[in-house]
Symmetry: C2
């Protein structure tokens, strides 16, 4: 049986792990909200909202740093093993992925400000539908993390194919607009990067899903898929 002191330390440690999970959930909610804000700003040409997203990114960065420092301190003080140690390492990785999702949202917001000088293009429908898939994946992976649900996490990874399909079709659409009228090149270039950013949010979401498997099962995925589905998509030079 545990003595009082050991029990006290164990309780304190459980409390600290709970705190770590809470901060991570908070950070996840922020990343989710930032992406939703950036996409809404883009689709409604709302420069004020875009600027708010840009400013608020600092909060996510601060939380990432806090989770990092807290995790290192926790490992140093409590010297955890097995699943507890994996949880802490996973928290560091997840917070870094969430920080990157925040960056990508900020970048989309920045491009919204740059694009607002141009007449609107009809591509916002495709961008909004791609964003819907990505946002629902983020929501699902955060819930899966809270519940340590590996099945749902695997489902998130499988849904990344959908994101790639959206990206490929959006890429084609944007190239067509650029070829039709050179005045579209400026705004379409920004939208190409927006599409790429959404595709990368999908990748980070998949990374988070893989961490859930690691924490629960103690295993890593055999290989990380990193490809760009548009590599073979650009039309031939003489096709128009």
């Amino acid at each position: 049986m545990m003595n009082d002191r050991a029990e006290h330390i164990s309780k304190a440690f459980d409390e600290e792990l709970r705190l770590l999970n809470n901060r991570l959930a908070e950070m996840g909610g922020m990343a989710e909200a930032q992406l939703a804000g950036a996409v809404e700003a883009l689709c409604r040409s709302n420069a004020e909202l875009a600027e708010r997203v840009v400013v608020r990114d600092k909060e996510i960065d601060a939380l990432d740093l806090e989770i990092d420092m807290f995790s290192v301190r926790l490992v140093a003080l409590r010297q955890p093993v097995a699943a507890d140690l994996r949880t802490i390492f996973a928290a560091i990785k997840i917070s870094s992925d969430l920080e990157r999702i925040g960056d990508l949202a900020k970048n989309i917001a920045g491009r919204t400000l740059a694009i607002s000088r141009f007449p609107p293009l009809p591509t916002t429908v495709s961008i909004a539908s791609m964003a819907t898939v990505v946002q629902s994946m983020i929501k699902q992976v955060l819930d899966a993390w809270t519940a340590r649900d590996t099945q749902s996490a695997a489902d998130v990874c499988a849904r990344d194919v959908e994101v790639d399909q959206h990206y490929a079709s959006l890429f084609r659409e944007l190239l067509t607009y650029m070829m039709e009228d050179p005045r579209n090149i400026g705004p379409c270039t920004h939208l190409l990067f927006v599409a790429k950013n959404l595709e990368r949010v999908g990748d980070h979401t998949t990374n988070i899903a893989e961490q859930i498997g690691y924490v629960v099962l103690g295993t890593r995925p055999p290989d990380r898929q990193t490809h760009d589905p548009t590599n073979a998509l650009v039309p031939e030079a003489d096709s128009q």
Copy 2:
């Protein structure tokens, strides 16, 4: 004075840390070589070399996973504190940045294969000179890590401004080619992403430099700079 067993454990741990540093240096060399290969393949339209870069990326991924697993095991078994613990956490972060640099090199190689179908553009000179800056930053940061040289690491961070300037000028150059002739839109779109990839390699190199300060001084930088220097660069819709 240490007893024999403590001394033995301490020696074994030193050896493990040395091994960790060696694997990281090896991974750094691989990332450096992969980027050099990708840029050479692009500039000389060497499809065979590009394919080799794409295939070899798996080796960097495998090393990243190995360093991750080794680090977690090291923390669990040796329960290090202070500078040793910071070194291990830094190794995890650095290996993840090197893995991303490898991915970006692979992506550049993939785009080289896609671009090879088009007649060459005169932008390779600008891309090569941007790549030269980025490659010398990687070399410098890897040396700074080995020597734990915070001054040199700070220098690497300062040089990221050069990369941003190259990127901004390349971005303008590519937009001009696209506006001149719609047949350039396909290949230039790929080259825009190549330029963006090189800019991101610069960011990852800066991240690595920041880890050196963290290990040596125990402090984190106050704020991570994450911006896209092209946001305000696209010419007005009616400017041509």
